[in-house]
């Protein structure tokens, strides 16, 4: 509690994450990215900038893609969260994950999980134009691939296009 008696230094955060309910008392200032990685222990979500630009920390909260580095764990109390660990089913890669593999759309893999969550969060039917795909993908940075194969992977799943553009 502050001197004024308002607010508290710690918060209770109860969320459903990848279908599982978890509940922790954490410092109010704990970033959601650190909550997911260090408290819940899911390290597939990566931290690349901690100021909302690179997208490596992208997760889904209540169905929307957001940047977990620019969010407090406190802000998502009561929410439903999905991270990259939720995409495969019984070890079977999702179609998008498989497409990334088949199209060599990843190299070091650090940005990949963020891309996958951005893609998972939207409806493919809203992204049937090439320009729309480019604009969507522009919210995640990659330093290794030059993006070309990522675009191919996405369009192969969403537009049914052949690889090798």
């Amino acid at each position: 509690m502050t001197a004024s008696g308002i607010g508290s230094s710690h918060v209770d955060v109860a969320v459903t994450i990848n279908g599982e309910r978890v509940s922790h008392t954490v410092p109010a200032r704990l970033l959601l990215s650190d909550f997911i990685r260090d408290v819940v222990g899911l390290t597939g979500t990566h931290v690349g900038c901690e100021h909302g630009f690179c997208g490596a920390c992208t997760i889904m909260v209540n169905g929307d893609a957001i940047r977990s580095c620019s969010t407090l764990a406190a802000q998502v109390d009561g929410s439903t969260i999905r991270t990259v660990e939720d995409l495969a089913t019984d070890g079977q890669l999702s179609p998008m994950q498989q497409a990334f593999h088949e199209n060599h759309a990843m190299q070091c893999g650090f940005c990949t999980t963020g891309f996958l969550m951005t893609l998972e969060s939207v409806d493919a039917k809203d992204y049937q134009e090439h320009d729309q795909v480019i604009e969507l993908l522009s919210g995640n940075l990659c330093r290794c691939t030059g993006y070309q194969n990522i675009v191919t992977a996405v369009t192969s799943v969403w537009h049914g296009e052949e690889a090798g553009g």
Binding site: I6, G7, H51, G52, S70, A74, Q75
Partner: protein, 292 residues
């Protein structure tokens, strides 16, 4: 880059929210946090109390009527962008939101948050000024309304005291016979603008009869382009656009000079954007796409 210590408070009512702000000597309103949290991670901002209003129903309303769009403090940019009613009433909102950051930012960031943050290169403050938006501000002592045109004082500086909350923004529908244009030049997709323009242009039979032209990214805050607003009267897209270009160039005198662009570049670029916005407005009008 972790934030400094602070206490966190979730009020259940407007009274509790303004009460908390009044009681603390270093507090900040937390809505989406997409500007605030990064600043706190850099420790550029270290409030000792955060008052989280994003879950409050009284701030979550997006209301559309024939007069305009009313946006509560907790309403995300995505919610407005996705609302067909809001776009029908004030199409400029979607036009501007298209340029704002990326999907992930808009899913959490709020319209009111962007208005209060007052980044000189942001789109929404300029649009608010261009449309004559009205902002409702509450504190423990009461409330007031302020016109967007009077709200912006300088870079990241608005007419808000530490104990104030911007609770709602009302964007009136632009007058019939006008076209709204939002245009900008930025380096990368989603960046803040090097220069930008929010314009409400009245067109009658292929000629501009009046316009409200508000720049962003040029100076420390959204600026009305007074000279260009005069020069644009009678613009019909035929013949030279030099007069309009020169007027806008002059309006942008004193433009920002930074690592991205020189001052004179901003003047030239803004002047070009004004001319192309004028042409775009005429094209829209011709295609029957004026506001009604």
């Amino acid at each position: 880059m972790k934030p400094a210590l602070f206490d966190y408070y979730r009020p259940n009512s407007l009274d509790e929210a303004v009460g908390a702000l009044a009681a603390s000597d270093s507090s900040k309103v937390l809505a989406g946090g997409q500007s605030l949290i990064p600043a706190m991670n850099f420790r550029l901002s270290s409030p000792s109390l955060l008052v989280d209003i994003q879950g409050m129903p009284e701030f979550g309303a997006l209301t559309v009527d024939s007069g305009g769009v009313r946006i509560g403090a907790a309403v995300t940019q995505s919610t407005v962008e996705r609302s067909p009613d809001a776009s029908a009433a004030v199409s400029a909102l979607r036009q501007a939101l298209r340029y704002v950051g990326h999907l992930q930012i808009r899913n959490k960031g709020t319209v009111c948050g962007s208005l209060a943050h007052a980044d000189p290169a942001a789109e929404l403050p300029a649009l608010a000024v261009a449309l004559g938006a009205e902002l409702a501000i509450h504190n423990a002592g009461g409330s007031r309304l302020i016109a967007a045109g009077d709200f912006y004082r300088g870079p990241f500086w608005v007419d808000l005291e530490p104990e104030d909350i911007l609770t709602e923004a009302y964007f009136p529908a632009p007058p019939a016979g006008t076209v709204t244009v939002v245009d900008e030049i930025s380096r990368r997709a989603g960046d803040f603008a090097i220069v930008g323009l929010a314009a409400v242009v009245a067109v009658d039979e292929g000629t501009v009869t009046s316009a409200t032209l508000v720049s962003f990214g040029v100076g420390g805050k959204p600026e009305r382009l007074a000279t260009a607003e005069s020069a644009i009267v009678g613009f019909d897209g035929n013949g030279a656009s030099d007069a309009l270009y020169d007027a806008a160039f002059q309006d942008a005198d004193g433009a920002l000079d930074d690592g991205h662009a020189t001052a004179i570049y901003r003047q030239e670029a803004l002047a070009s954007v004004v001319v192309r916005a004028a042409r775009a407005a005429l094209d829209s009008a011709q295609d029957g796409r004026r506001n009604s």
